[in-house]
Each structure stands twice: as structure tokens, then as C-alpha cells.
């Protein structure tokens, strides 16, 4: 299983983004009830890149601006809390917007 030996924190975020890979993302997405399509991958890849530069998961506004999709479309791909959901699937920490 892709998720064997992967460490998560109390809120279900991976503790080490470096051990993340695409198989893990597929499994994590399944747990959220999401089947990943190309549109999902575009968002996930943006988040991975963004986190590489800034050291943290992007906020909702950073994602919509960076990927070039509307907030509505983003909610369609990752229902309820897209920023948190993508961060989880992309193996990143919780977005810091929610303080």
C-alpha cells in the first residue's frame, strides 16, 4: 500500500512533504472521496511548486490566481475546503490562512 509507513499529524496532514509521490496522492484523494483527473493534477502540481518556493501550502486565493481557475471551479474539484483538501492530498501542511 502506498500509505504504509507514512507519518501523518493529528489533523491528517503528512508530516514530511518530501516522501510524497503521485501514488500517495491517489490514495489520499480516494480517502477524501475524490477521483483525480487532469484538472485536479494541475492544481496539485501548482500547490507542490508553490510550497517548494514558500515553504508552505498556498491559500485558496493563491491557488485560484496561480492556476487561473475560478473559486467555484476549485470547489467543484475539491468540495468543501479546497485549500485544505489539496494541501492534504499534495502532502503539504495545513494552509496558514486559517489562524
Amino acid at each position: 500500500m502506498a500509505l504504509d509507513n507514512i507519518a501523518f499529524n493529528d489533523e491528517g496532514y503528512m508530516t514530511d512533504p518530501n516522501v510524497w509521490n503521485k501514488e500517495i496522492a491517489v490514495e489520499l484523494a480516494k480517502k477524501e472521496g475524490i477521483e483525480l483527473t487532469d484538472a485536479h493534477w494541475k492544481v496539485i502540481e501548482f500547490c507542490r511548486e508553490s510550497a517548494k518556493d514558500s515553504g508552505k501550502a498556498p491559500t485558496l486565493r493563491q491557488i485560484t490566481k496561480g492556476v487561473g481557475i475560478t473559486t467555484k471551479e476549485l470547489f467543484g474539484l475539491f468540495p468543501k475546503g479546497p485549500a485544505k483538501k489539496v494541501a492534504k492530498i499534495a502532502g503539504l501542511g495545513k494552509p496558514e490562512g486559517c489562524v
Partner: protein, 411 residues
């Protein structure tokens, strides 16, 4: 002569002006502070206005009263900040100020226009009110005085917001207020929030969520507002959930000052990217942040600005001596949560440690109880207004340490 410039004379800027006036040699430095508004607002007091606990004149005083005489005060809007050229252009005052050091303390403000329908003219301040402005809080007070009841929805548009506990306090006080008015049975209270629960931090969220339950407030979690339909009187989320309202109390999107965006210094919400431990901006070494203006992931609150104060002052003075800044700001926040019926809850936390139960500020003794309701906590909050005007703004010693302590807490 060198120039120390402060933009914004709210809680953070005023404290910095007072500290710097004491620290810098007046023969060598001139200190200038700029603000567009001559009035200082005690923002924590806005919460009490809708319920008639405070009147508007109790939360406003002239800014000049809290600034030392040697500080030059300019009342003007700010047109543009040019950090590459170390200068700031003022609008109304029609002048350009060249600075050696700049502190940005321009705060955060509500932007109802970010949510379609929210600022609809026929409804805004008629049955849709914010309470994060003096005007909104005052208008809401007039509305609530004669309201016959119905469904009151409190909605947070998106995070982050200033004082993330204020919405909960509003709900607790509303429950109390409607009971006092004898119409609690005619009012349905709904809390629609984009967060997964009552608050941002898990343990406090469960305690505070339990209190909402006890007070009969319905929680609609994970509600991300897309628009307000003022004809149908519903708020609609991105996933097409609708919540009907008779009275909508809104905490609209919070953003940093427009001049930050216009000057190309901010992120998507006009907050300036800042080192969360040193409070130096990421891009300009002589530009520093206090309070809400930066993007540091700490609560946007006066107590946080106060805990930032000693760190930012020390680091600026170190920088003037050619030393590296110290990463001493730990995200410390300390919030009195008014819970109605003259009781309150106190929480104390930082970047790494969520709010825990215990006693504060003296371990074991208190007098304040953490993460638990008590009358003493309420009186602490009431007393705080006096401390704010008389001690805190002037940079005086407060009986709380800047860095959070684990002493007296139960992990």
C-alpha cells in the same frame, strides 16, 4: 537628520511611536507618523455596541492624545510607498517623505464588495450589518433595539479575519441580549463559518463549540460563501448550500490597506510578506511590520500587536547597530472571549501551542482561568479598556510577557 517613518497610527503604530520616541536620540532622528484618520478607535469595543453595552463615544478618542509631543503627526492618506527608493508619497498632505526606517502598521479592513450581493445597497445596513466598523456596529445597535425576532445568521466570509474570536463573542452576547429582551424564543441563531468548527484551534474549538451548543446556536461548518441573494434573503455557498436569513451579520473578507496593493508590496489580500519570527519584511531590510499589516500567521489582534512590540523594537535597534534581527516573535496571542451573563473565557496560545486549560498570568493562581468560563475573565476584559487607553498605547509595562509561557497550563 535621519527619518523614522511610521504608517498608520492604530494600536501597533501608536505603540511603536511611543517606544521609539523614548529610544531614539532627538538630535539625530525625527519620528513621523502618518494616518488618514484623526480618531483612534478602541476596536475591541465595537463588539459591545450592538448590544448597548458600550456607546459609540466610549470607543473613540483623538489620536494625538496618545502620541508623544516630539513625534510629528501628519493626518493624510498615503498615495504610494516606494520601498526601492525609501520614500512615501502622501495624498492630502501633498508631500513626499524620504525615510531611513519604515514601520508599516496600516492594519486590516473589511471588504464587503469581495462577496457578490453582500454590499447590495437596498440591504446594506438595513438587514445586513458588519460590526467590525463603528458605523456598522452602531447601525446594528439601532436595528437590534427594536427587532421583533427571526433568523439571525452570522457569517464569516473567509479567513483570515481580525480577532477570530469576535464572531463567537458576538453569538454568546446575542444569546444573552435576546434573553434580556425577552425574545430569545423568537430568535433563531445560526453561525455559518468556513472553518470546520467553532474556532481555528482544535481544543479551543471543541470547548467553544460546546458552549455554542449550550446556548442553542446552530453551527454550519465548512460554509464558504459565494454570494448573497438579497431577493430570496439567502446566503449561498460555492457548493450550492443555501441558508435563509432575516438578519445577516457579516464578517466580510479582511484585507490589508489598498496602498500596500497599489505599491506592489502585498500578497493576494494586500498583506506584506514578513518574516514571522523577526517581523522584518521579506524584501526590504529597513521596512518592518507590526500588527495586522503583515502576512504572519498569527491572530490579527491588539494583544498580538502588543506582543510583537518588544520584538520589533529590539530588532530595529539591533539593525541600526548592524546586528542581525533575533527570531523572537512566537505568535503569542491572548484573547478574552466574552461569553455573556458577565462571564468570559480566556485563551493564550502561539504558533506552536494551541490554547490549553490552566491559570494566567500567574501559574496556579491566576486570577484568570484559561479555556474555562469565569466572572473574573469578564472583569479582566472590561478592565482592559482602561489599560488599553492608559497603559498599552503609550508603550507602558503590561503584566503579560511577550513570549508565551507553558507555566500553569495543563497539556
Amino acid at each position: 537628520m535621519k527619518t523614522f517613518l511610521i504608517l498608520g497610527a492604530g494600536t501597533g503604530g501608536t505603540m511603536v511611536a511611543n517606544k521609539m520616541a523614548a529610544a531614539l536620540d532627538p538630535q539625530e532622528w525625527r519620528i513621523i507618523i502618518v494616518d488618514r484618520d484623526e480618531k483612534h478607535y478602541y476596536q475591541p469595543g465595537f463588539l459591545f455596541i450592538p448590544f448597548g453595552i458600550y456607546s459609540p463615544n466610549e470607543v473613540v478618542k483623538p489620536k494625538r492624545n496618545f502620541l508623544p509631543p516630539q513625534v510629528e503627526v501628519i493626518f493624510s492618506d498615503i498615495e504610494l510607498i516606494e520601498p526601492e527608493k525609501n520614500r512615501v508619497r502622501l495624498g492630502k498632505a501633498k508631500k513626499t517623505i524620504n525615510y531611513d526606517y519604515l514601520v508599516i502598521s496600516t492594519g486590516s479592513h473589511i471588504h464587503p464588495e469581495e462577496t457578490p450581493g453582500l454590499d447590495d445597497e437596498a440591504s446594506w445596513l438595513k438587514n445586513i450589518f458588519p460590526f467590525y466598523t463603528l458605523e456598522g456596529a452602531t447601525e446594528l445597535s439601532n436595528f437590534l433595539k427594536y427587532w421583533k425576532g427571526g433568523r439571525m445568521v452570522l457569517n464569516i466570509a473567509e479567513m483570515p479575519i481580525k480577532c477570530p474570536v469576535a464572531p463567537l463573542e458576538f453569538l454568546f452576547l446575542a444569546d444573552w441580549f435576546f434573553q434580556e429582551r425577552g425574545i430569545r424564543d423568537k430568535v433563531e441563531i445560526v453561525f455559518a463559518t468556513p472553518l470546520p468548527g467553532a474556532f481555528t484551534k482544535p481544543r479551543a474549538s471543541s470547548v467553544l463549540g460546546g458552549m455554542l451548543d449550550d446556548k442553542g446556536v446552530a453551527l454550519e461548518a465548512d460554509f464558504n460563501i459565494m454570494e448573497v441573494d438579497t431577493t430570496k434573503q439567502v446566503i449561498r455557498s460555492y457548493d450550492e448550500k443555501e441558508i435563509a436569513y432575516d438578519l445577516l451579520v457579516t464578517i466580510p473578507t479582511n484585507m490589508g490597506a489598498e496602498v500596500i496593493g497599489n505599491s506592489g508590496m502585498g500578497d493576494e489580500l494586500n498583506f506584506v510578506p514578513t518574516n514571522k519570527h523577526t517581523l522584518q519584511t521579506d524584501k526590504w531590510e529597513n521596512v518592518w511590520i507590526i500588527g495586522d499589516a503583515g502576512n504572519v500567521p498569527a491572530s490579527k489582534a491588539g494583544s498580538v500587536a502588543h506582543f510583537m512590540l518588544d520584538v520589533v523594537i529590539e530588532n530595529i535597534l539591533r539593525h541600526m547597530e548592524g546586528l542581525d534581527p533575533l527570531p523572537k516573535f512566537d505568535g503569542h496571542a491572548n484573547c478574552y472571549i466574552e461569553s455573556g451573563f458577565e462571564k468570559g473565557v480566556l485563551i493564550d496560545f502561539n504558533y506552536d501551542v494551541e490554547p490549553l486549560p490552566g491559570k494566567y498570568p500567574l501559574p496556579g493562581f491566576g486570577p484568570f482561568s484559561l479555556l474555562q468560563e469565569s466572572h473574573t475573565n469578564h472583569w479582566g476584559k472590561m478592565m482592559f479598556r482602561w489599560m488599553y487607553w492608559n497603559i498599552l498605547l503609550k508603550g507602558g509595562e503590561m503584566p503579560f510577557e511577550s513570549q508565551m509561557s507553558m507555566a500553569g497550563k495543563w497539556a
